[in-house]
């Protein structure tokens, strides 16, 4: 059963890259599909073009191979039916609610869903945003369809999903609430990808449970809890995977006894029989019929492939590995389950029931994904594919599981050989970097999913909020050192979420010794006690926790939302306050010197403020104030009752005082008219100023005095070097040194004035946000300190001018809109805890580290990201899982004290190969970038660059030494690391770290600040932009968002070789979009999309695509809008003509190409190879 599906899946997976352009919606598909199929066949039958290692596998390991390949076909005959029958029976359960236990579970879930729908609306106003970059399909996909599936309408997860790609979602929800019947009889286009995941999860589950439950969970009560719980999930969600999870505990036993993989197979063989016996149970004949056909097809082709071609062989083996596990689990699950056991006859039905959906679902992707492919492909597969495909690494992560036993065994006996001779997971497939020409996948790269069993994975934290550079944590520091990879976490804790369970309860359950919040990964020893997963202390379950508000039932602590979600938010009691929650307080400190007035930012700011005054987050206590400064400091008395704003000038900048401390920060609602008057008047108040000096330091001191009683947010707008009073700065940049390849100086602050001020502010819960709009050097390195240590954020608009540089003006406008209206948390602290044995090493981001694991954040905003380096202090041999928990305690703008808790759970591995298999290359790159910034400030830029190159060299040579028998001349990387050199090269060419290219010091420092404070999703785009060809957009593979068709062109590699003269290309750099128009670009495109008759007439500075009523214009615009919607800061668009001077801006992002000062990608690879061989 598994095989066909797997096969079908594989198909998906395999095709996706090439199929991206050919996956067509609509009727034109036949041709592309053919090609796909051809592709596929060729892949299958003409031998492995891709993987040279696999064929050899066949020869070397005939035994194992055969075992695997023989297994499936044999099984197929008997199992499908049985499964099908089971499926039917479970379906009937669902519909009739015949079986009490299951129906009760269903209930539970329904109500839970209700709960979340009613009480937990924490939506942030950026739903689509989240949808998009939250898309990291894997986890999310699991989320929507699995965890709250039974709730059709109110399912928030479902909605979230919808916003990102509508069509795939519909089917999901349909399936999940209409039961298996639908799933089988009119298989929807959707299945392949989800089932792919599921499938992976299954394959994994068996093994993982083993490791998971082996150490802990002594009592059977615990087992029961788990089983009940998963069982319930299985039934409700109707997804195949759950089934396996439901019966998880069993494979444990089976597997534990026979440690090798081969015995497992045999056990599966015997296990197969019970379900077969159930076959007659099948009540719904009509359902069974189609599925059988599908299965039949699956069987045919699968058996052929398995015996014929080497390609599927590795695959097959993987399948085979998982297969027995799955079967055995489903077969034996009834045994330990106490309830069914008491009465065997019904027991067998429910027991196999969970197993049932599996085949049906599996058959479907197969049947659909392959021979009867069209319907599936037409609508939904493509988008989903785009989601799933990237998970290649992910995928493989799981694949390796089935054959873990075999692999471990081999690696012990054969040493380095094992990697080659055993069928290996995709992420470990060695890639010869110098020979692989197209290293970049066609679709975005997604986070790998940790190798956990399904149940845990489903509960695990979304990779958007919480990612680890190694999804398999090495057991000891020695192993980590051997792997030469950075270990760390990347956090985006305050991300805008569309759905978040909010929990109000009197007692927040926490571990008594380490203060960990209760989370899904704790174990319940019995009803009354739980064991902390971080420090292993056994705690009591408080009385209140025994009552479950979702089910309104008593005695089910493991079903509380805290234990069902890894991201939750608690409303904190007064124990969590040091003082009453502060109101939202905003202070704007504005530069009004001549320079600032020239630049004209005041108009834009005041306009934005006027527009968004009502949308500023806050409650009735919200306070606001304004200060302006040039060589003196101006305060504005806005006290209610005044007829007009009163300006108070303080010219004593050496000893700043507040003229009327009480009336400078005023209630927003009481003084709204005055505030509006002021905002209308401000832009014109200083038009004739001749004052060129800027007393920023004293102004900040005044702001600090003003804010210190309450705390809040200070927004500083500065346009030049501060030249008066405390904190004055000198120009340190030598323009002749901009393109120096040697030493880059002055990356650190010139004075500690701003740092000290920031620390004082931080102590008074005040964050300082800096908007630097300058045309000259302004020593951002020093100024940035005011935001860095007070947990503020930094925006930089080089050469800002409201008329001369309209794109910057537009960017400021958009950024301000987001800045003013986004969510904000005050007086926050964030604590990161991790399992005993691990420890925090260094933190990256904007904050002040208060103690070893506590970050003080005066403000927290949804666009702030953090990184943490970890070290392994004690060996983790006695545990198989490690957990990380971040708790963010903050005061919401409504004056509520809240705690947002994220928990991430990862497996521990003991072999080097597994460590490599679980590398999250994007996270690793982001962490390395953070470390490199630190290094370049504390040591030097060239040191940092060397460290980056060494990171690649070390890790690849470490990997090379594990595969001893491969030819040493080639540069080999595991598949999971194949993008590592590319990304490092991209980093070296990034503004922050590049040398040789003229880079202004402020630009460089700003890039560094961004690296430190951006969350991973945004940072990755900054490091490695996405390039798309947009002059031939088609609806093939398009996704549908809000009734709009969004084309999905494939990613191009960042090289000029891809830029054909007759094309138009879009580059997405995160905060900027470039559209490059080739000289020979089709006039139709120019006319239809750009609205110009021909290439020559395209204006030099074009920042908008006109809204034209043509198909290609619509497609291009909807694609760009879709990309834009996926991020909080709206990027600006530049249309770059091939011959315009602006094209250097564009070409500097083509990181695979050679520049005068830097390697091309290929040269870089050779360089690395040289270093390794040295």
């Amino acid at each position: 059963m598994q095989v066909p599906s797997g096969y079908g899946l594989y198909h998906q997976n395999y095709i996706a890259p090439s199929g991206h352009y050919s996956q067509g919606p609509g009727k034109m598909t036949s041709l592309p599909l053919d090609t796909q199929r051809d592709d596929y066949y060729s892949g299958l039958y003409t031998g492995s073009t891709q993987n040279v290692v696999t064929p050899s596998t066949v020869n070397q390991q005939p035994g194992a191979q055969q075992m695997y390949s023989r297994g499936p076909p044999a099984v197929v005959g008997s199992t499908p039916g049985s499964f099908r029958g089971a499926a039917a029976s479970s379906a009937s359960h669902l519909h009739t609610s015949a079986s009490p236990p299951y129906s009760s579970f269903v209930n539970h879930y329904n109500s839970s869903a209700l709960y979340s729908a009613n009480s937990s609306v924490a939506s942030q106003g950026f739903p689509s945003t989240c949808g998009h970059y939250a898309m990291s399909t894997v986890s999310n996909a699991v989320y929507p369809s699995v965890s709250y599936p039974s709730l059709p309408a109110g399912d928030p997860y479902g909605q979230m999903f919808t916003s990102q790609s509508t069509p795939p979602v519909r089917p999901v929800t349909d399936n999940s609430f209409s039961g298996q019947n639908t799933a089988i009889s009119h298989p929807s286009p959707l299945p392949p990808p989800p089932s792919q995941q599921y499938h992976q999860q299954q394959s994994l589950s068996g093994y993982n449970t083993l490791s998971w439950s082996a150490p802990g969970l002594p009592s059977s009560a615990q087992d029961n809890l788990i089983r009940n719980h998963t069982g319930s999930l299985a039934t409700t969600s109707n997804t195949p995977t759950n089934t396996v999870a439901g019966s998880l505990p069993c494979p444990v036993m089976q597997n534990v006894l026979p440690p090798k993989s081969s015995p497992t197979v045999s056990s599966s063989a015997s296990a197969r029989t019970p379900p077969t016996a159930n076959r007659p149970v099948e009540p719904v004949a009509s359902v069974a019929q189609p599925s059988e056909q599908l299965q039949q097809k699956g069987v045919d082709s699968s058996s052929t492939t398995s015996s014929a071609s080497p390609m599927p062989n590795s695959y097959d083996a993987l399948e085979g590995g998982s297969y027995p596990d799955m079967l055995s689990s489903s077969a034996s699950s009834p045994a330990p389950d106490p309830a069914p056991e008491s009465d065997p006859a019904p027991a067998s039905a429910p027991a196999s029931a969970p197993a049932a959906p599996q085949p049906s679902k599996m058959a479907k992707p197969f049947g659909y994904g392959y021979p009867t492919l069209q319907p599936g492909y037409q609508n939904a597969t493509a988008p989903l594919n785009s989601g799933v495909q990237p998970s290649n690494p992910v995928y493989s992560g799981f694949q390796q599981y089935p054959q873990y036993p075999g692999m471990n065994q081999l690696s012990s006996s054969l040493g380095g050989l094992s990697l080659q001779s055993s069928p290996q997971p995709e992420s470990l497939r060695p890639v010869n970097l110098t020979q692989e020409r197209n290293i970049l996948p066609m679709t975005p790269v997604w986070a790998p999913v940790p190798n956990l069993n399904l149940e845990l994975r489903k509960l695990n934290c979304s990779p958007d909020s919480f990612r680890c550079t190694l999804t398999n944590i090495p057991q000891t520091q020695a192993l980590l050192n051997k792997a030469k990879l950075p270990l760390g976490l990347l956090l985006h804790p305050f991300r805008d979420l569309t759905q978040l369970p909010v929990i109000t309860s009197n007692t927040i359950v926490r571990c008594r010794s380490c203060r960990t919040y209760i989370n899904p990964f704790v174990s319940f020893i019995d009803q009354r006690r739980w064991k902390c997963n971080l420090c292993y202390r056994v705690n009591d379950v408080p009385e209140e926790f025994m009552y479950n508000p979702l089910t309104r039932s008593y005695g089910e602590p493991h079903k509380r939302p805290e234990v069902q979600n890894s991201t939750v938010e608690f409303i904190a009691s007064s124990d969590y306050m040091l003082r009453p929650p502060q109101p939202a307080v905003y202070l704007f400190v504005l530069d009004v010197s001549h320079n600032a007035v020239e630049a004209g930012y005041l108009t834009i700011l005041c306009q934005s403020l006027l527009e968004n005054l009502d949308k500023l987050p806050g409650d009735s206590r919200t306070r606001i104030g304004f200060m302006t400064f040039d060589s003196t400091i101006h305060f504005y008395n806005l006290q209610e009752g005044l007829s007009q704003p009163q300006m108070l000038i303080v010219s004593d900048i050496d000893d700043v005082f507040l003229p009327t401390p009480d009336s400078l920060l005023v209630n927003l609602y009481e003084s709204k008219e005055l505030i509006k008057d002021l905002l209308n008047a401000l832009p014109n108040m200083f038009t004739n100023t001749r004052e060129t000096h800027s007393a920023l330091g004293p102004a900040l001191q005044a702001a600090f005095k003003l804010m210190s009683p309450t705390g809040g947010r200070v927004s500083v707008f500065q346009t030049q070097l501060p030249s008066l009073g405390a904190g004055l700065l000198q120009s340190r940049e030598d323009p002749n040194q901009r393109s120096s390849t040697k030493v880059v100086q002055h990356l650190g602050p010139a004075t500690d004035f701003y740092k000290k001020l920031a620390l004082d502010c931080s102590g008074q819960q005040t964050a300082v946000d800096l908007f630097l709009l300058s045309s000259q050097y302004s020593d951002l390195a020093s100024l940035a300190c005011m935001s860095k240590y007070s947990a503020g954020c930094i925006y930089y608009y080089p050469s800002f001018h409201y008329t001369h540089n309209p794109s910057q003006a537009e960017k400021l406008q958009k950024d301000l809109k987001r800045y003013l209206t986004r969510k904000i948390g005050f007086e926050a602290v964030m604590r990161i805890r991790c399992t005993k044995g691990l420890s925090m090493h260094t933190f990256h981001g904007n904050f002040f580290v208060r103690s070893t694991d506590l970050l003080s954040l005066a403000n927290i905003n949804p666009d702030a990201g953090f990184a943490v380096q970890l070290s392994i202090e004690e060996s983790l041999t006695d545990t198989s899982l490690v957990c990380f928990q971040t708790a963010l305690l903050y005061t919401s703008s409504k004056g509520e004290r809240r705690i947002r808790v994220h928990t991430l759970c990862l497996p521990v591995v003991s072999s080097l190969a597994d460590v490599y298999a679980g590398v999250d290359v994007q996270a690793a790159i982001c962490l390395l970038a953070n470390m490199a910034v630190d290094r370049s400030v504390s040591s030097s830029l060239s040191d940092a660059r060397d460290a980056l190159v060494n990171a690649v060299v070390d890790s690849l040579s470490a990997y090379g030494s594990t595969i001893s028998n491969l030819q040493h001349s080639a540069l080999i990387a595991p598949c999971s690391l194949k993008l590592f050199p590319l990304y490092v090269l991209a980093l070296l060419k990034q503004k922050a770290f590049r040398t040789g290219t003229s880079t202004r010091l402020d630009d460089r420092v700003y890039a560094m600040c961004q690296i430190k404070s951006q969350p991973l999703v945004h940072l990755m785009k900054m490091i490695h932009p996405n390039l798309y060809r947009i002059d031939r957009l088609t609806d093939e593979g398009a996704v549908h968002v809000n009734d709009r068709v969004v084309p999905q062109p494939p990613l191009q590699k960042l090289s000029a070789e891809k830029l054909t003269r007759d094309g138009a290309f879009l580059m997405d750099c995160g905060s900027v979009f470039y559209i490059w128009i080739g000289k020979g670009c089709d006039n139709n495109f120019i006319e239809d999309v750009l609205g110009c008759p021909d290439f020559a007439s395209i204006p030099q500075k074009m920042t908008h695509l006109p809204e034209l009523d043509t198909l290609s214009s619509e497609r291009a615009r909807s694609f760009i809008t879709w990309l834009r919607d996926s991020r909080p800061l709206s990027p600006i668009l530049h249309v770059v003509k091939d011959e315009s001077p602006a094209k250097t801006e564009f070409f500097q992002h083509l990181i695979e190409d050679r520049t005068e000062a830097a390697f091309s990608y290929y040269e870089f690879l050779l360089h690395i190879q040289q270093q390794i061989c040295k």
Binding site: T751, D752, K755, G763, Q765, H841, F848, R850
Partner: protein
Amino acid sequence: MAFTFAAFCYMLALLLTAALIFFAIWHIIAFDELKTDYKNPIDQCNTLNPILENVFVFNLIHICMRIRKLVLPEYLIHAFFCVMFLCAAEWLTLGLNMPLLAYHIWRYMSRPVMSGPGLYDPTTIMNADILAYCQKEGWCKLAFYLLAFFYYLYGMIYVLVSS
């Protein structure tokens, strides 16, 4: 037996080294506090710095300030009796002290950008590497001062007896 300048130097150094030992111990304790203070973050050092006392007080900044206050005196004292030994022409003793003197000078030259005197930047001190380094530094200095203490004692008696 006569009371020479060298003997006076040794006696002075003996007393000052006792003070340095005390400083080193304080240094170690302060960093240890830093490392473990999350158990009881707020009230530990309020007594030491009553001016800044408020609920949001940062222990860390205080400890840094405290250490900062001690670092310069320590360096000055050490430099002072190095000069004394130079004057007394106790070349061996001076030679033994030179590495530490050089280290102190290097340490002070490479301190982070700071307006006041001091070595420790509260924003980076919690970095595990720096914290570990500082602790190790404290222990090494303690050991050095203890050995030096007994050496000075021996030196003093030797000078007194031999002359």
